[in-house]
């Protein structure tokens, strides 16, 4: 089989490996609990939160600690030689013994776990960020005296549960299920402050736009199920493998049912459909508009959404089924282009924002653009790497922003801050670390991952994919802007003189705020160690830990079709994307990217570093207005909803009540009129009756006379 051959060569082992090893290690048996702990905390917080100290926060913290511990254990297990674990936990449809469904359709819809290095990594990230967000919430929500805390912590619990379950879903349908649940949770949390007007509206927008994306995703899921009869991610009978077999001329594929178009066309359609969900959830152009609005939610929630859960889900999905996407050059090109463009596009908007969280929101969009760029550009490891580092430093930045917001009494306007660095040193230090990571400055985490993204894209682009070069161009340009807006933010917030009284005397923040910041700050500094791709030629490929990890090198058994090297194989195969890699040293492009980043930071320093910085962006004039209005993206989308769909529905309503119901009522009216006419025959005058009677008789007489031939 193709999968097996690929990995024998790549992993260099002579034995024929088990494709999936069914580990009997206890920790894998406990794996379901990783997601179930937060679910339990959801119920506990919801129903008992009122009677618990801290409004249910403790349940959440305990649950996430447990999840984190289990996840770490899993990672260790995989790192010291365990195997991929796949288990069907629950049969959704067709589970009964001698099931009529199975008997008839031959398939069942199941929920199961797929724990491989990718999933394990993501589990750790999610549970870690969630834990920190819970902790931070103690300072941000509890200490601020918010009401509705049980609801809040219940929401966090459900959110974490959904995301964790999504992460180790073993099939696309289950992934979709939790993908949707993630969306609902974000709706509930963004709209947490439901008494105000903006949060519910933002929540609605977030759900609607992501649902629009999910619409395509669901079609994709259904279509994949219909095409392959399965939605499993991994295994001989997974749709990924079947698709590869279907396209591979050397392998005889069976059981693929395409509706009358060639397989590669149809698979491309499938890929694009699934991509719809990704674009919506990961806030890629043009479905990114919900994300900045989502800042209406509590800041810890923003951190959770942007760093590890909702938005990450989209990109993670691409990584999860990368074996499928790697087969489809068109889809990859689209992913790369969307990613690169979004990276640049969002960065430009971030330049002019005045609210701290808005800058971070656009930066999130931009950074997820990079991940998409990486995945589209053939850099599977790079994408995952950036996902990881971004999760850390973006969570850090949001939590830091939250800290600032607490200090500023919920004023988010950066122009009313300034000089906070002396008053909140911990926050400043950690925020700075996060910012340097975001800007991609050596040696912070973001530098390594962003460079790898750009390098992979460039390498594959130079290998004969000009579209990737365009995407690379976008991405490289965005590096400059990232540096600029990041440090504009840092300078405006922390440097210079305090510009308002609040900034002069900010509220102090507690340990529950600082602890997460410190943890994340440290990780932001050292996170790059995971995969120092720029130095590949120096430190040697085997010391690129993440790469080795994702390739399954630490495991006893072979990762097979889920391994990074398999993906490269497919990417370069003729039946796959057909990418070619140029032999390029990562050092050169790395330096270029660093220079770009430094240019951006330097520009920010030049423009905003003074004691009392001026708004420089106003010089952009109308361009600034366009940027401030987000290229009128919200306007046209709002217009599509309220300016087009709503009036259309009103017209339809008029049509319905007027014409369709009018016809129904009209039939009634006509009957009534006929009735009135018939009623009028009865004049009350008996002579008329006699006349009518005689006349009718005469009529009958003539009629039947003619027929009967009486005359």
């Amino acid at each position: 089989m193709m999968g097996t051959t690929a990995l024998t060569t790549l992993a260099g082992t002579a034995t024929v490996p088990q494709f999936i090893s069914l580990a009997t290690k206890d920790v894998f048996k406990l794996a379901p609990a990783i997601a179930l702990f937060p679910l339990a905390s959801f119920f506990i917080s919801l129903f008992l939160g009122k009677r618990m100290p801290k409004g249910g926060a403790l349940a959440g913290i305990a649950a996430t600690i447990a999840s984190l511990a289990l996840s770490v254990w899993l990672v260790i297990e995989l790192a010291i030689g365990g195997g991929t674990y796949q288990e069907t936990l629950y049969t959704f449809v067709g589970g009964a013994s001698d099931s009529a469904v199975v008997e008839h359709t031959g398939v069942e819809l199941t929920f199961g776990l797929l724990i491989d290095p990718l999933a394990a990594l993501m589990l750790v990230i999610v549970s870690l960020i969630s834990l920190l967000v819970h902790l931070f919430s103690l300072g941000y929500m509890n200490d601020e005296g918010e009401t509705g805390l049980p609801r809040y912590y219940a929401g966090l619990g459900l959110f974490t549960f959904s995301m964790l379950a999504f992460v180790y879903s073993d099939n696309l349908l289950m992934a979709f299920v939790f993908f949707e649940l993630v969306g609902v949770c974000s709706y509930l949390l963004i709209g947490f402050w439901f008494r105000e007007d903006a949060p519910p509206s933002a929540a609605k927008k977030a759900f609607l736009i992501t649902r629009f994306g999910d619409y395509f995703f669901l079609i994709g899921v259904v279509a994949i199920f219909a095409t392959f009869g399965t939605t499993a991610f991994a295994g001989e009978n997974s749709f990924v493998t079947m698709a590869a077999d279907g396209l591979n001329p050397d392998v005889a594929a069976e059981g693929i049912d395409t509706p009358g178009v060639s397989e590669d066309t149809w698979f491309t359609v499938l890929g694009l459909l699934v991509l719809g969900g990704v674009v919506g959830k990961s806030a890629q152009f043009p479905l990114h508009t919900w994300l900045p609005d989502a800042m209406e939610g509590p800041t810890p929630v923003s951190a959770l959404i942007h760093a590890a859960t909702m938005v990450a889900a989209g990109v993670y999905l691409v990584a999860r089924m990368y074996g499928f996407f790697a087969l489809l050059p068109t889809v990859l090109a689209v992913i790369a282009l969307i990613g690169g463009f979004t990276a640049l596009f969002a960065a430009t908007m971030a330049l002019v924002k005045q609210e701290l969280k808005q800058v971070l929101a656009y930066s999130t969009i931009s950074q997820y653009g990079y991940m998409m760029l990486a995945l589209g550009g053939g850099g599977y490891v790079a994408g995952v790497f950036h996902l990881t580092t971004h999760a850390i430093f973006k969570a850090l930045l949001f939590l830091g922003a939250g800290s600032v917001i607490i200090a500023m009494h919920h004023n988010e306007n950066m122009w009313e801050m300034g000089g906070l660095k002396d008053r909140m040193p911990v926050t400043y230090a950690t925020f700075l670390a996060g910012s340097l990571a975001l800007a991609g400055i050596f040696p912070f985490a973001g530098f390594w991952s962003k460079d790898e993204v750009l390098f992979e894209t460039l390498a594959h682009g130079l290998g004969g994919s000009p579209i990737l070069l365009i995407a690379y161009g976008f991405g490289a340009l965005a590096v400059v802007l990232t540096g600029l807006y990041t440090f504009r933010m840092v300078f405006l917030t922390f440097h210079g003189e305090p510009r308002t009284d609040t900034a002069e005397d900010p509220e102090t923040v507690g340990w529950s705020v600082k602890l997460p910041l410190v943890v994340l700050g440290v990780l932001s500094v050292v996170g790059g160690v995971l995969n120092m791709g720029v130095l590949k030629d120096i430190i040697g490929e085997s010391n690129l830990f993440l790469h080795e990890w994702l390739d399954g090198a630490t495991m006893d058994t072979d990762l097979g079709a889920l391994s990074a090297s398999h993906y490269s194989e497919v990417l370069e195969a003729d039946y796959g994307a057909g990418y070619e890699v140029t032999d390029l040293s990562p050092l050169g492009p790395g330096v270029v990217a660093l220079v770009f980043a430094v240019v951006g930071v330097g520009a920010a320093w030049y423009l905003y570093s003074g004691a009392d910085p001026e708004p420089k962006m106003t010089r952009l004039g109308r361009v600034r207005t366009v940027l401030l209005r987000n290229y009128y993206q919200d306007e046209y989308q709002a217009w599509l909803a309220t300016g087009l769909t709503l009036p259309f529905s009103r017209i339809a309503d008029k049509f319905d009540r007027g014409l369709i119901d009018g016809i129904v009522n009209g039939i009634g009216t006509v009957s009534m009129v006929v009735g009135r006419q018939f009623r009028q025959i009865q004049t009350g005058v008996v002579t008329n009756y006699a006349a009518l009677l005689a006349f009718s008789l005469l009529l009958l007489l003539f009629a039947f006379g003619f027929v009967g031939g009486w005359f």
Binding site: V93, L173, F194, D197, Y215, V221, A223, F225, R650
Partner: protein, 515 residues
């Protein structure tokens, strides 16, 4: 005899409650309704039928056959029994009736004994519809549904209740007669090959190609003609666009518990009948016109959803979205795939529960606020947190949120519809209809934002606080069922599959043979 017992108990209860004093009517009726509920649940646990009742291989459970009378060559029978398709609907009916009765306690404060008597009478007729296997008996119950429903809308309804009630009665009655004519075209076409009007006999005779010509129509034309009339008749009941206009009026005017029954069970009569008659008896005609039928479904889905966008009355919103949801059933049915037919049946149950849930919740809100207009109120979440919580969850259920029954149903329908070879361009049509899930999210989210969130304001002069415990309990139970079926669709899906599978088998054979 359990079927007879259930029917008899319900009918007796109806009469008893109707003549009893108002004071005890509510509680008495609720207690009485527990009996058929228990009976149906017992049937559920004891169910040992197999296959589709109408087809040759089917084994009908709890079957009784008694000759009633002979009219011409036809013997009319008391012939009842259930299979995997009708049993879930039967249970749905009894469950929803009991819950609807509980939800009547608050809003119904006049002429109670009549109200509760009629509700139980309605239940009797509905149960009858789902258990009858003789056409004529079935038709008696089918028409019998109209009478209590008419009164329930006309007496206890809103301001335009009389208009709505008579429109409902006349419109659906005309539809019944059209359908009746359609089936009789078939029966007469069968000539001497049948001696009873039992549905299995008719079905098997039609399928065995024993149809002769009748009234100058060749068998094929006759089939088409009959199919057309049947479809038209049932389309009104379902309702499919453009035969739907009675529904919003009826829903808006009907008191909440009646809306629950209307949306929850009455609409299912239409799809149930479509499945039993059109799609079981005349699969080849259905296949010939598959594109048209699927188009009806798609148009209903989209058009109903778009109209829901334009509404301010929350009941109207749910009413139009019911039209939309029933469109999915049609799309699933015409697919003739296991998941298509099974998913459609599942959607009947699921929509029954979810629409019942939403109507009840709107009713609970209405009991407190005395308005249903989006815009007349805001920030209800401040005052009735649990009700609002259930409402939000239910609304997400309606949007097809995973792990709630709507999702399971819709996904199964989509999978089934996507795969079919019966409908031309099935993937495209399915994808088109799926856009309904976006629109439904649009209007429900909009309505929720307007009414539930923001600061508390209310146009009407009522003090509102948390809803009565029995109201919250009944919507809670429904929500529980919705989640239960969403998490474990197999609970009923196996039974349903058992009922529809034979249909797929023979239809598949017939259709591929024909095509």
């Amino acid at each position: 005899m359990i079927v007879e017992a259930v029917l008899a108990v319900t009918l007796t209860g109806a009469l008893l409650v109707a003549v009893g004093p108002d004071r005890y009517a509510a509680k008495l009726a609720t207690v009485v309704s527990v009996l058929p509920l228990a009976g149906s649940l017992w049937m559920w646990t004891e169910y040992a039928g197999e296959g589709n009742a109408l087809l040759e291989s089917g084994e009908v459970a709890f079957q009784t056959t008694v000759e009633w009378l002979t009219l011409g060559q036809y013997t009319l029978q008391w012939y009842v029994g259930v299979d995997g398709i009708s049993l879930p609907l039967l249970v749905l009916t009894t469950v929803l009736t009991t819950l609807a009765l509980v939800s009547s306690w608050t809003p119904i404060d006049e002429r109670q004994s009549q109200f509760y008597g009629l509700m139980l009478l309605l239940e009797t007729a509905l149960i009858g519809v789902f258990v009858s296997l003789d056409f004529f008996l079935w038709f008696v119950f089918w028409e019998g549904v109209l009478i209590p429903m008419y009164f329930l809308i006309a007496v206890w309804g809103g301001p335009r209740r009389k208009y709505a009630a008579i429109k409902f009665l006349v419109y659906t009655n005309i539809a019944s007669l059209i359908m009746f004519a359609g089936l009789f075209a078939l029966i007469f076409g069968l000539g001497d090959s049948i001696t009873t009007l039992s549905l299995p006999e008719i079905t098997q005779a039609v399928l065995a190609d024993e149809l002769g010509s009748f009234a100058g129509l060749e068998p094929d034309t006759l089939k088409m003609f009959a199919f057309f009339l049947l479809f038209l008749g049932f389309a009104v009941k379902v309702p499919l666009v453009p035969f739907h206009t009675w529904l919003p009026d009826a829903h808006v005017e009907a008191p909440t518990p009646v809306s629950v029954m209307l949306a929850g069970v009455l609409l299912k009569m239409g799809t149930y009948a479509l499945l039993r008659f059109n799609f079981t008896m005349l699969p080849d005609v259905a296949a010939d016109y598959a594109l048209l039928i699927a188009a009806f479904g798609v148009v209903s889905v989209i058009y109903g959803a778009v109209l829901a966008l334009a509404q301010r009355d929350m009941k109207r919103i749910v009413a139009y979205s019911s039209i939309s949801s029933m469109g999915y059933v049609i799309i699933g049915l015409i697919a003739y795939t296991p998941h298509g037919l099974g998913g459609a049946t599942f959607q009947m149950i699921s929509h029954g529960l979810i629409s019942g849930l939403l109507f009840m919740t709107v009713g609970v809100i209405y009991n407190a606020t005395h308005t249903r207009m989006v815009g007349d109120m805001s920030g209800l979440a401040n005052r009735m947190p649990w009700t609002v919580g259930i409402f939000i969850t239910g609304a997400f259920g309606y949007m097809g949120l995973p792990l709630m029954s709507g999702f399971a149903a819709e996904v199964l329908v989509f999978i089934g519809a996507f795969q079919t070879s019966v409908v031309p361009a099935a993937p495209l049509l399915t994808a088109l209809s799926m856009f309904g899930i976006v629109i439904v999210a649009g209007y429900l989210l909009w309505a929720m934002q307007q009414t539930l969130f923001g600061s508390f304001e209310l146009e009407t002069d009522y003090e509102i606080g948390p809803a009565p415990i029995h109201d919250v309990a009944s919507i809670g139970v429904l929500l529980g069922l919705v989640v239960l079926l969403g998490v474990a669709p197999d609970l009923i899906y196996e039974t349903i599959q058992d009922g529809v599978n034979p249909l797929v088998d023979f239809a598949g054979a017939a259709l591929t043979g024909g095509a």
